[in-house]
């Protein structure tokens, strides 16, 4: 049961590695690529702290083997900021609206919110709550997370309008 040769694109960079097929994607990202933004929370696909964007889908990287991700394009929280470290508007709005307290769920929340806004650029509060229902936060009560995502949607939409 040898190692598997995997190739993928992570945050825009090509990555090649040898990995045991049974290695979970979250362990590969954290331990082999040193991307420690995605967190291991529950390790049972409930909490969403390990959420990453994979081929345009939000996935829980604790419930995916690295071999299954061979060939995939992956984005983690480390890939959200712009070149030079300028924060993504979602990151800005989480800061502005106190969308985090301890911060443990935040990388998963923002990565999930990113995909949600890609699919639904103008979500209602209810749609945001349903859209992040796979991400648990034990600090905020969600109120400010929802506000931050809604504010990010407004900013992105206003920037789009201004550009048109």
């Amino acid at each position: 049961m040898g190692k598997h040769h995997v190739k993928m694109t992570v945050n825009g960079s090509a990555v090649e590695a040898l990995a045991e097929p049974r290695m979970l994607l979250i362990h590969f990202l954290r331990e082999q690529l040193n991307l420690t933004g995605p967190h291991i929370g529950c390790d049972t696909s409930h909490c969403g702290a390990c959420t990453v964007d994979l081929d345009g889908k939000s996935v829980k990287s604790c419930t995916l083997f690295v071999a299954q991700a061979d060939g995939a394009e992956i984005r983690t929280i480390e890939g959200m900021a712009g070149p030079g470290g300028s924060l993504h508007v979602l990151q800005e709005m989480f800061r502005e609206h106190h969308g985090l307290q301890c911060g443990f769920c935040t990388p998963g929340m923002i990565t999930r919110a990113y995909r949600l806004l890609q699919e639904n650029p103008d979500p209602s509060e209810e749609e945001i709550r349903f859209g992040i229902s796979g991400n648990l936060c034990r600090c905020t009560g969600y109120q400010n997370i929802v506000k931050a995502i809604r504010a990010a949607a407004d900013q992105i939409n206003a920037a789009k309008e201004a550009a048109e």
């Binding site: 045991e20 097929p21 049974r22 969403g48 889908k57 939000s58 419930t63 299954q68 992040i132």
Partner: protein, 287 residues
């Protein structure tokens, strides 16, 4: 939690996948979305030497409308079911049900084929497929056959599927235009399996129920097609007496486990309430 070691295969065709299953027998499992199997592997409740990933096989995803039936590729994800325009127009109860499964991340991965093949009585699609009288298309070393959803489930995690067979598609007879439908699911929280759930479909003709189907989720070892409850509706005006009879017959069919979701008699009564609510909503929607 780290699963045991295994060899990973990514076949390009169903024949190749079936060949791998035949070669490795009990030591191999196929994986689709993986959100039932991988947690079990992490707990080492599922131990296998060969994991056969179906993701690279062309032609296993998407919905095609064959007129009298809708054919759904086994690798179609719950998220794709929710977004599919053909299903929205012809059989909207599938999206209504898919939206009540797990959470967004799981629905991006979880597939209809995995959901129906696994044999977990907590899964939602099996009862719905029984209500729709769907058939599962299974491919094995000896060719392809169809297995009716209503006779597929033997016990929890035991099904009619042969160990060298793979479900490649689900064939759903297209419900009549103007049919009413509802999937009612009571759960403790988003992401949970049903405490009890019911799928109801019906058609009305001049105030009389012309056709119906009722099936139940997670109140027995298998999904339950409620044949007698269905018969109590057909030919009635779906008045209170007929609904009461259907609810009582559906409750009588249940044999739920007592677990963290509640005592058995509570879940039986809840199944009755799900049936009652689903009938009411299906009736509202019927043309």
């Amino acid at each position: 939690m780290i699963p045991g070691s295994f060899e990973y295969h990514r076949p390009q065709t169903v024949d190749e996948a079936v060949g791998l299953l035949a070669q490795h027998g009990d030591d191999a499992r196929v994986v689709a979305g993986g959100h039932s199997l991988i947690p079990m592997m992490k707990l080492r409740m599922a131990v296998l030497d060969h994991l056969i990933d179906l993701q690279a096989i062309d032609g296993l995803s998407g919905v095609s409308d064959n007129g009298d039936s809708l054919v759904i590729g086994a690798m179609t994800t719950q998220n794709e079911l929710i977004a599919d325009p053909v299903l929205a127009a012809k059989c909207p109860i599938i999206a209504e049900t898919a939206l009540q499964i797990a959470d967004p991340q799981v629905r991006y991965c979880g597939t209809i084929g995995g959901n129906v093949a696994n044999g977990d009585p907590g899964n939602d699609m099996p009862a719905l497929m029984q209500a729709l009288d769907a058939a599962y298309v299974a491919q094995g070393p000896d060719g392809t056959r169809e297995i009716a959803a209503r006779s597929f489930y033997e016990a929890a995690y035991f099904t009619e599927l042969g160990e060298n067979e793979i479900i490649t598609a689900v064939r759903v007879p297209t419900p009549a235009a103007g049919h009413g439908y509802a999937y009612e699911k009571q759960k403790r929280k988003i992401g949970d399996y049903a405490t009890a759930a019911a799928a109801v479909l019906l058609t009305m003709s001049a105030g009389t129920c012309a056709w119906a189907a009722i099936a139940l989720t997670n109140v027995g070892d298998t999904p339950l097609y409620a044949e007698d409850a269905t018969a109590a509706l057909v030919g009635s005006s779906v008045d209170k007496a007929a609904v009461d009879r259907a609810v009582a017959l559906a409750e009588g069919l249940t044999n739920p486990a007592a677990d963290a979701r509640g005592p058995a008699d509570y879940r039986t009564k809840l199944a009755g309430i799900m049936v009652r609510r689903a009938i009411a909503r299906a009736l509202e929607r019927a043309a």
